[in-house]
Symmetry: C2
Subunit: 253 residues, 2 copies
Amino acid sequence: MAITYTTLEELPMPAACEPTPAMDIGRQLAVLADSVPITRRVVRPGERIYHAVDRFDRLYVVNVGICKTVNLSADGREQVVAVHFKGDWLGVGGIATGRYGCDAIAMDTGEIWSVPYEALTTACSRCPELLTVFHQAMSREILRERASMLALCTLPADARVAEFLRRWAEALSERGLRSDCVGLPMSRAEIGNFLGMTLESVSRALSRLARDGLIQFVDRARRQIEIPVPAALAAFVSRCVSEADSRRGALAC
Amino acid sequence: MAITYTTLEELPMPAACEPTPAMDIGRQLAVLADSVPITRRVVRPGERIYHAVDRFDRLYVVNVGICKTVNLSADGREQVVAVHFKGDWLGVGGIATGRYGCDAIAMDTGEIWSVPYEALTTACSRCPELLTVFHQAMSREILRERASMLALCTLPADARVAEFLRRWAEALSERGLRSDCVGLPMSRAEIGNFLGMTLESVSRALSRLARDGLIQFVDRARRQIEIPVPAALAAFVSRCVSEADSRRGALAC
DNA sequence: CGCAAAGTTGAGCGTCCTCAAGCAGCGTGG
DNA sequence: CCACGCTGCTTGAGGACGCTCAACTTTGCG
């Protein structure tokens, strides 16, 4: 089983033909604020930023804080489809249909920027850099959701929780925040809903991860989680994959 | 909690101004072909359109045929993340990272258009209509993936297969094709991979749906599936939801 | 302090996965 | 032409993972 998988990160990217280099998140926000008139709004935990049924007219960008978007289906199902950090755009699902389609809800105190979609598109015509920022944000959103789908389909429950924590810490470190200690503003039920499992299974998975030393609870409420070795979480996920799902992943192409 | 936000007051949205009405798919393709120089390519079943590791430089649009995109993770997992029909854009995941990140593979004989990303963005500056087409396509992609996640998280196996068939038929009818008879160019293993279940479970689910009269097999190879009453499939999905998952969906907001 | 909400843990069970066998379609070659 | 192998599909039996239900503990808040 010593197969070497070429990961995307390992491959040499010729520096000469670098396509629009990755832009710092602060820089992205600066480009946005300089190109269009921004509306700033302070939000508090649990506050709804927009409704799924609201008519789409503006896009939102997280400047401070963390938000979730909750998808609602016609038959009453609801699911947390994404968690958004600084620099993430909210509401892009509304472009195609004219309605947002998801509820967006702040998970702690923060500041949300917003810009009318009309103003954004006209500004994009003037400012190619803004166009790049916007397109990269939508592209990242697609990548995030694909990663979620992959986790849902290929990982067992414990590994899904580990992967969830790993990605949360990764999101923090990408933004220059300390990622060794994650304070989750979500209940076990919300995490379970996001990961396609019950709150009990989330609780059990966290207990097992803590027992195995992969994480540690810092407060008695068990909402703050310390990750001593982030790489150990990733290794745990990989281990779950290799020992179990050699069958499910087999796509005879 | 009855706080009035300045942002909402600023938006006296007259009901008249419907935001960019939905555009016919043929029209979308026409806008694209008229705005930028298109490269056309005929593909055959199983032919790879681009590799996950390829450097991103152009976007692809399905003109004829059906394609799948397969996500590959660093630890060897792979998953069919989407099935694309006429008018769908491929490769948008590459905008953020500079690499496609997914393999795109044709599932039957078809024609794929492509356009350099650079040429597209410059053309978008000149032609706002093209910008709208492109943004709506990306937005639809996000909505599709959210719908997939919702199905993965909230539906039992049989309902996932039913929902899969329903959405396939829906995609056909949206494009003016007959949707009562669906010819699946995917193996059971591919369907299972896409839906997060094994090929045996897919086979069993299809057998049960056929036994209950919701679908019918038209050929002996069981690749062509007839859907007598599309609404019955949707009703079956809803029924699965209401009788089972009153617990999992409970998000105490 | 007392109650409600959130979290943990256990026991039992059901859905779906695993493993295995058998069957049907199909191209190959003797 | 049919035997042959190959691939994909179906179906069954058994087992495991995660859900359901329930009891209990802890936290937070009036």
